[in-house]
C-alpha cells in the first residue's frame, strides 16, 4: 500500500469502499439474555427406587470460565424446599474431601421423594425452581394436591415451561420420584426447554447429554415395562458413576463432583432417601 501518496484530506479508494461497507452493515451491540452454565442431570427409575443425579460444575460466560466446582442450587432441587441441596452445597464448599471420602458417605434425609434436576441457563433454572415451588405450595395449601407425586409435579413443570414459550426458560429438566399410588416404583420424566416431556426409564439432560444417554441406554436393561430398569439401586449408582466419569473426560461443562439423590421403597413399603456425593476426576 502506497500510503505516502495519500493526501491528508482525502480517503483512498480502498478506504472509501471499506467505509461504505461498514455503513451499509452497521454493527449493533446487543444483549444476550441467555448463558450456558454447563451441568448434566440424569435420572433412573427402578421397580423400588428413583435416582436423580447431577454434576456440580458451573461454567461462566464464554463457555470456558470455570466459576464453581460446587454448584448445586440451580441444578438439583426438591419440590418442598431447597434447604437440603443448599446444605450439601455448603458442605462441599467448606470441606469437600470429608463429604466424599474414599467411599461416599450417604446422608439420610426425609421429605418428599420427588426431585427436579435442571441444566442449561442457571438463572432460568433458579427462576423455574421458584415458580414451580410457589405453585406447588399454593396448590398444597388450598388442598388441590395432597402429595407431591412425580406425575403431578412433572405435569406442572411442563405447564410452567410452556407458559414461557415465547421467551423460554433455558432449562432442560428431568423429574424423578417414587409414585405413592404405584406401589412405590420409580418414575422419571425428561423435558426439553419448552415443556414437551415423556416418561422414561433412564433420562439425561444438559451439556454432554449426547455422550451420557447412549452409555446409559446400553448399560441399563428393561423388559416388559419400558419405563423401569431391571437393575437394583446399587447397580444403578455404579453405572451412573461410571457413565459420568466417562462424560467428564471429554465434556468440559461436566465434572468435579457427582451428587446422587436416591429414594427407595423397602419390602414393607417404607420410603427412605439418601444423598451420595462422589468425586469425579480432577480436571
Amino acid at each position: 500500500m502506497n500510503a505516502v501518496s495519500i493526501s491528508s484530506g482525502s480517503m483512498c479508494g480502498m478506504c472509501m469502499m471499506a467505509w461504505l461497507v461498514l455503513m451499509a452493515h452497521p454493527v449493533t451491540a446487543s444483549f444476550e439474555p441467555y448463558q450456558l452454565n454447563g451441568g448434566l442431570v440424569s435420572a433412573v427409575a427402578g421397580k423400588t427406587f428413583a435416582i436423580i443425579g447431577t454434576d456440580t460444575r458451573m461454567i461462566g460466560e464464554g463457555g470456558y470460565l470455570l466459576e464453581s466446582r460446587n454448584h448445586l442450587s440451580s441444578r438439583l432441587w426438591s419440590v418442598e424446599d431447597d434447604t437440603l441441596m443448599l446444605e450439601i452445597e455448603s458442605a462441599l464448599r467448606s470441606d469437600a474431601a470429608a463429604l466424599r471420602a474414599v467411599k461416599p458417605v450417604p446422608i439420610k434425609i426425609t421429605g418428599p421423594t420427588t426431585m427436579v434436576g435442571s441444566s442449561g441457563c442457571s438463572t432460568d433454572c433458579s427462576q423455574l425452581q421458584r415458580v414451580v415451588r410457589a405453585d406447588l405450595r399454593a396448590a398444597s395449601y388450598y388442598g388441590q394436591v395432597s402429595s407431591f407425586d412425580p406425575d403431578q409435579v412433572a405435569n406442572l413443570v411442563s405447564q410452567t415451561l410452556y407458559s414461557r414459550r415465547v421467551f423460554p426458560y433455558y432449562a432442560f429438566c428431568v423429574v424423578s420420584g417414587l409414585d405413592s399410588n404405584g406401589g412405590g416404583c420409580g418414575k422419571v420424566y425428561v423435558y426439553d426447554a419448552i415443556g414437551s416431556y415423556e416418561q422414561v426409564a433412564v433420562a439425561a439432560a444438559g451439556t454432554g447429554r449426547e455422550l451420557l444417554q447412549p452409555i446409559l441406554d446400553r448399560l441399563f436393561t428393561s423388559n416388559g415395562n419400558a419405563n423401569l430398569v431391571n437393575e437394583s439401586a446399587d447397580a444403578a449408582v455404579e453405572y451412573l458413576c461410571k457413565a459420568y466419569r466417562s462424560v467428564s473426560e471429554r465434556e468440559i461443562g461436566v465434572g468435579d463432583n457427582l451428587v446422587l439423590h436416591i429414594s427407595e421403597t423397602d419390602t414393607e413399603g417404607k420410603v427412605s432417601s439418601r444423598v451420595l456425593v462422589v468425586k469425579l476426576k480432577d480436571h
Partner: protein, 239 residues
C-alpha cells in the same frame, strides 16, 4: 420517543475479587473508572458498606451500580424502619437476603431485555449459619455462592492465583496479602485496571471499607518477565 434499552456498558469499572477467610470475608476492587479506552477517573470507589452489615461491589456499568446501590440502601433503610418487627427488634438486612433480592431485580431487568450491566459481589456475615457469606449476581441474575469470587477479567487472571493459594483457615493478614497480590497482577495485565485499590472486609462485628490506596508497583516493570519474555529466560531463545 420509544423506550431505550441497554445494549452495551459505557462507563465501566473492572474486576471485583473476593475471598472468605477464617473469621470473615474480604473483597477488593480498583478505583479506576473507564470510558471505553479512556481512563476517566482514578478515584472512584466501587465498594459500598450497607448498614455496616453488608458489602456490595460491582464491575460493569457504573451508572447501573449507582442505581443498584440506591435501591439497596432504600431497602436496607426500609428493613430497619418500616418493617413490622423493627419497632421491637433491632433488625438488620441479612446479606443473603440482599443477594436474593438482587437476583430478583437483575432477573426481572434481564427478562425485559434491559439489564443492569453489572456483575455484583455481595459479602457479609451470615448470622444464621455463623459463617461469612460471599456471593455474586450477574446481569442475567445468575447467582453463585462460593469461597472465592472474581468478576470480569479477574475470573481469568486472578482466580487461578486465588485458587492456588487459598485455604479455608487463612488469617486476615494472609487474606489481604493474597488479594493485594491478585490486584497487582490485574494491574499489570488488565488494561482497564489501575494500581489504586480499595479493600473491604466484613466480620461478625461489622464491615469496614478502606479508603483507596496505591499498591506499590515501583519496581513492577523490572520483573524479569517484563524485561525479557518468559520464553527467553531458559536460554534456548525459543518462544
Amino acid at each position: 420517543m420509544s423506550k431505550q434499552r441497554t445494549t452495551q456498558p459505557i462507563t465501566t469499572g473492572t474486576s471485583v475479587i473476593g475471598l472468605v477467610y477464617d473469621g470473615g470475608v474480604m473483597i477488593a476492587a480498583d478505583t479506576l473508572l473507564s470510558y471505553g479506552s479512556m481512563a476517566k477517573s482514578f478515584n472512584t470507589p466501587r465498594l459500598y458498606n450497607i448498614e455496616d452489615r453488608i458489602l456490595l461491589g460491582a464491575s460493569g456499568e457504573y451508572s447501573d451500580l449507582q442505581e443498584i446501590v440506591a435501591k439497596v440502601k432504600a431497602l436496607a433503610l426500609q428493613e430497619t424502619t418500616n418493617s413490622m418487627e423493627s419497632i421491637y427488634v433491632d433488625r438488620k438486612l441479612p446479606a443473603k437476603s440482599l443477594w436474593n433480592y438482587l437476583r430478583a431485580v437483575m432477573y426481572q431487568k434481564r427478562s425485559k431485555m434491559n439489564p443492569y450491566w453489572n456483575d455484583v459481589v455481595v459479602a457479609g456475615w451470615d448470622d444464621q449459619a455463623d459463617k461469612p457469606f460471599l456471593g455474586t449476581v450477574d446481569k442475567l441474575g445468575t447467582t453463585l455462592q462460593e469461597n472465592l469470587v472474581a468478576t470480569g477479567f479477574g475470573g481469568y487472571l486472578a482466580m487461578p492465583l486465588l485458587r492456588e493459594k487459598w485455604r479455608n483457615d487463612l488469617s486476615e493478614g494472609e487474606a489481604r496479602a493474597l488479594l493485594e497480590d491478585a490486584m497487582k497482577v490485574l494491574f499489570y495485565r488488565d488494561c482497564r485496571a489501575s494500581a489504586r485499590i480499595q479493600l473491604a472486609k466484613c466480620t461478625s462485628d461489622g464491615c469496614i471499607v478502606s479508603e483507596p490506596y496505591e499498591l506499590d508497583h515501583s519496581n513492577g516493570w523490572n520483573a524479569p518477565s517484563m524485561i525479557r519474555a518468559a520464553g527467553d529466560l531458559d536460554g534456548d531463545g525459543g518462544w
